[in-house]
């Protein structure tokens, strides 16, 4: 983070490649005097070009759309400045803060519960809930941290409990593998806040659905599935 601030001072050196993500290159750029983030979905030469183009195009448009919709749910997410559907690039607000993956705690799972419940209340399914898709923004001016959500490439609209449960199941899987040390506390915190920010009774229903999906998991069927 300190390194990053230092880099920002040298803003005439922009653009700077921040990260080669799984789908995109993330570049810190100068956007009319403001620093901004360019998310460029670059070619994947290993894939068939027709498939590749289609995936990158669809996800870029979806992401830009949903970033705006998330605002209506009163959730912190980057503002979109510019969308280039030809290059598959989104230029968006750069949110300064720590990636949730690296600072995750059971306490922060409370904020996750709130954020995801609010999205679901607007029938937005994120589709890629993992701790690296959240930024803990530090607003030093008002001495306050806020959880921002990013990476809407796999998101869609749905009112189905199954789809909401699928988001929660993804989170559970990440907690259980990478954040296993605090899994129990983190997931119970998450569930509590998720339920209390969901419309009456729905949170519980979604959580029950998650258990149901997991109990009819692959392995109860393995014997018949060859």
């Amino acid at each position: 983070m300190i390194l990053l601030r230092f880099i920002l001072l040298l803003s005439d050196k922009l653009p700077i490649l921040l990260k080669k993500g799984s789908e995109a290159d993330l570049l810190l750029i100068d956007w009319y005097g403001k620093r901004a983030l360019s998310k460029l979905r670059t070619e994947r030469l290993y894939r068939n070009p027709i498939l590749d183009k289609e995936l990158r195009h669809r996800r870029t448009i979806r992401e830009a759309e949903m970033l705006s919709k998330a605002k209506e749910a009163r959730i912190r997410s980057p503002y979109v400045y510019f969308l280039d559907t030809y290059r598959n690039e989104i230029i968006m607000e750069y949110i300064e803060g720590a990636n949730l993956k690296s600072v995750f705690s059971a306490n922060l799972a409370l904020k996750l519960g709130e954020c995801i419940a609010k999205l679901h209340s607007r029938n937005i399914i994120h589709g890629d809930i993992t701790t690296s898709n959240f930024i803990l923004e530090n607003r030093s001016q008002d001495n306050y941290t806020e959880l921002a959500i990013i990476d809407f490439g796999l998101s869609f609209f749905s009112q189905r409990l199954e789809d909401m449960a699928s988001d929660v199941r993804m989170l559970k899987e990440v907690l259980n593998s990478v954040h296993y040390e605090i899994f129990d506390q983190a997931f119970s915190n998450f569930s509590e806040e998720y339920s209390s920010f969901s419309p009456s009774g729905r949170g519980r229903k979604v959580l029950r659905k998650v258990d149901e999906i997991q109990s009819r998991g692959r392995y109860s069927r393995i014997a018949n599935s060859y």
Binding site: K20, G21, S22, E23, R44, L45, Y46, R47, N48, I50, L51, E54, L55, K101, G127, D128, I129, T130, S132, L154, S166, M170, E173, V174, N176, S177, V178, Y180, R218, Y219, S220, I222, A223, S225, Y226
Partner: protein
């Protein structure tokens, strides 16, 4: 120490004898490796009971041959490892019965082995991978795994059928005999490579292939179609899904090593794609050599040796269990 490893989770019945000196995996040596695979009639799938009948028929011959080729006698063997799951009940039972019998008769410790874990251990021994992100792709599994603190943890997996089932079920619908993976690979690579869209499903870190299977089969039922191009499209889509899931996992974990194991690791196209992904993220790809990618007794012998040498584990013959649904992430990996 010498081990007999018995494998019988699905198609393959295999026995192998191997040696390890002390606790060092580096001294592991394969003394014999004999296998026989059940081949279902063309166009039909593996039927658990038919496969187990095959195993029952060949098991004494395979065992004898394994012992003979090692130039040892059964009395020289120190431990008996068998694959206890996950897999098909009737098939597992044949291996377990044989293992219990030998353990009782020759008074040798009996060591149950998790089949998925055995794929990983053998892959790591063969490729020299130390602490990789593991892509386990076979008939029974499609998982992305990470090792932390005594357990392999599931970072992502299939939500419905496995990649092996996708290839087999599609091949069978065309009347091929399973396993169909290499046939589909050949048809795809000899085709005109005309891609036509097939549903691509990735859910976060997990993958799904059932929609793909339905769409591909439907295409072959709809009058004129080209088998090669359909195989190509199916394979391109399915492997791109796996490659993307792998890329997500590397990006999240920053792992500098990736290892692909299981029967589908034998596919060149998949290895090419994974190689591209790994290069982009400066990670090294280890691919399990084709000859050991599929099920075999060697992986069981190796894993039973490591487990027994490090933790003295064994079970009494009457407790030689099988568990069709033995999840890899429930195994306490005492030695790693």
């Amino acid at each position: 120490m010498l081990a007999l490893g018995i494998e019988s989770t699905a198609h393959t019945f295999g026995c192998a004898i191997a040696e390890m000196k002390g606790k060092r995996k580096g001294t592991f040596r394969i003394l014999s490796d004999v296998r026989s695979s059940y081949r279902p009639p063309e166009g039909s799938g593996i039927h658990p009971r038919e496969a187990s009948r095959h195993h029952a028929n060949v098991c004494s011959r395979i065992l004898k041959e394994a012992v003979m080729r090692s130039s040892l006698k059964m009395e020289d063997i120190d431990i008996i490892g068998y694959s206890a799951g996950p897999g098909l009940g009737p098939c597992l039972r044949i291996g377990a019965v044989l293992a219990r019998l030998l353990s009782t008769y020759y008074r040798k410790p009996l060591v149950p082995v998790n089949h998925a874990l055995a794929h990983i251990e053998l892959g790591a021994w063969l490729t020299g991978a130390r602490n990789p992100l593991v892509i386990l792709v076979s008939g029974g599994h499609t998982m992305i795994l990470l090792y932390f603190n005594k357990r392999w943890r599931i970072f992502g997996e299939t939500l419905d059928i496995t990649i092996g089932q996708l290839l087999d079920q599609f091949g069978r619908s065309l009347g091929f005999s399973s396993p169909c993976g290499s046939m589909i690979e050949r048809l795809a690579s000899n085709s005109n490579k005309e891609y036509s869209g097939i549903p691509y499903t990735i859910k976060g870190n997990d993958v799904s292939f059932s929609g793909l299977l339905t769409a591909a089969i439907k295409r072959t039922k709809g009058g004129s179609f080209d088998i090669g191009n359909t195989c190509y499209s199916l394979q391109e889509t399915a492997f791109a899904i796996l490659a993307e899931a792998t890329e997500r996992a590397i990006s999240f974990t920053n792992k500098d090593e990736v290892m692909v194991v299981g029967g589908v690791a034998a596919n060149r196209r998949l290895a090419d794609m994974l190689n591209y992904v790994c290069t982009r993220h400066s990670s090294k790809l280890h691919v399990c050599p084709i000859h050991y990618a599929g099920d075999n007794g060697v992986q069981i012998a190796l894993t039973s040796l490591i487990d027994h040498v490090n933790s003295k584990v064994s079970v009494a013959p009457e407790n030689g269990f099988i568990d069709q649904a033995w999840r890899l992430d429930s195994v306490n990996v005492r030695w790693r």
